[in-house]
Amino acid sequence: MPSQSHSEHFPGPIHNPPVIKGEVHKGHGPHAHHPKLQHHFDDMDQQLEASTLGMWVFLVTEIMFFGGLFMAYLMYRWANPTAFQEASAHLDKFWGAVNTIVLIVSSLTMAMAVRSAQTSAKPKTQVMWLVATMFFGTVFLGVKVVEYTDKFTHNLVPGPNFVWTGQYPAGAEIFYSLYFCMTGLHALHMIIGLGMMTVITVMARRGTFDGSYYTPVEVSGLYWHFVDIVWIFLFPLLYLIGAHYGAGH
């Protein structure tokens, strides 16, 4: 049996709580019992809004996460401008550009995949767009493997085996440290993205998504586009700053 008030100073529990003036009994609308509605949410709209906002907040943390590396790049490039140009010239900007195009295509197919779920397209169509996205993501990673292998064989991996024949070995080593950290972190995010896409594709194949429920596709799409945006900045900053190096500089 609940006790009386804890102290003589207090009159005890409130008998007429002023705050709650009414109660809402949810659960009678048409979507109230959608099988995918999690029960701490009132309705599917709230669930979609909350999930989307959650992914956006997470992406802000990702912006700050990559941001630390971009800060290091900014400072070291300001301190070693010519070294960075010289080092960047050794990256193959053709493959960098190819990868940029590949990711842009994958963003298009991802947007189409989300749209296909929103418009309740057939599972086959949804899967087609999702698989296309994954295909281009895999191509991207394949190109990165080729690039990284090339760096390994040419002793451009920072550390004890780093060999630099140009004018600025210290600056070049810092550049390549940043190159590997930034593109490596980006590639890790791609791999995680591919994992997410696999799960989403399996769900889509089962007909899970339609106009009334496409939240997982939407939030995965947001993540995928973010990873594309990071590359949109990485490409010029890493690959293109030395493109005219040596030409009268």
Binding site: H31, M44, D45, L48, E49, T52, L53, W56, V57, L59, V60, I63, M64, G67, G68, F70, M71, L74, M75, W78, A79, K93, A97, T100, I101, I104, V105, S107, L108, M110, A111, M112, R115, Q118, T119, G211, S212, Y213, Y214, E218, G221, L222, H225, F226, D228, I229, I232, F233, F235, P236, L237, L240, I241, A243, H244, A247, G248, H249
Partner: protein, 99 residues
């Protein structure tokens, strides 16, 4: 269920703009504009990123809250970049000082 459904046309236009932007930034890098190269490169990258955010990520049709959240990430980056660089940039100002 709410959520704006964009037309496929807008997606293809944005796609085309992104490809053109990539080609432009590649070509611009081949020419030596001096420090202006950085401006061009960053401007194109910012436009591309904005297109992806506004249209592929749907911020163009999202609530103001989404817009504020997305913008805050970039504003905070600017705080990190700007104030940190203000240290490095001003280190050499006082000639003959301990710093």
């Amino acid at each position: 269920m709410s959520g704006h459904i964009a037309s496929t046309r807008i997606y293809y236009w944005v796609f085309a703009a992104l490809i053109i932007g990539t080609v432009l930034t590649y070509l611009a890098a081949l020419v030596d504009f001096g420090a202006f190269n950085n401006v061009v490169m960053l401007a194109i990258a910012l436009v591309k990123a904005s297109l992806v955010i506004l249209f592929f990520m749907g911020v163009r049709w999202s609530s103001r809250l989404t817009w504020v959240v997305a913008a805050s990430g970039f504003v905070w980056l600017l705080i990190l970049f700007g104030i940190t660089m203000s240290d490095y940039l001003s280190r050499g100002w006082m000639v003959g000082s301990l710093r």
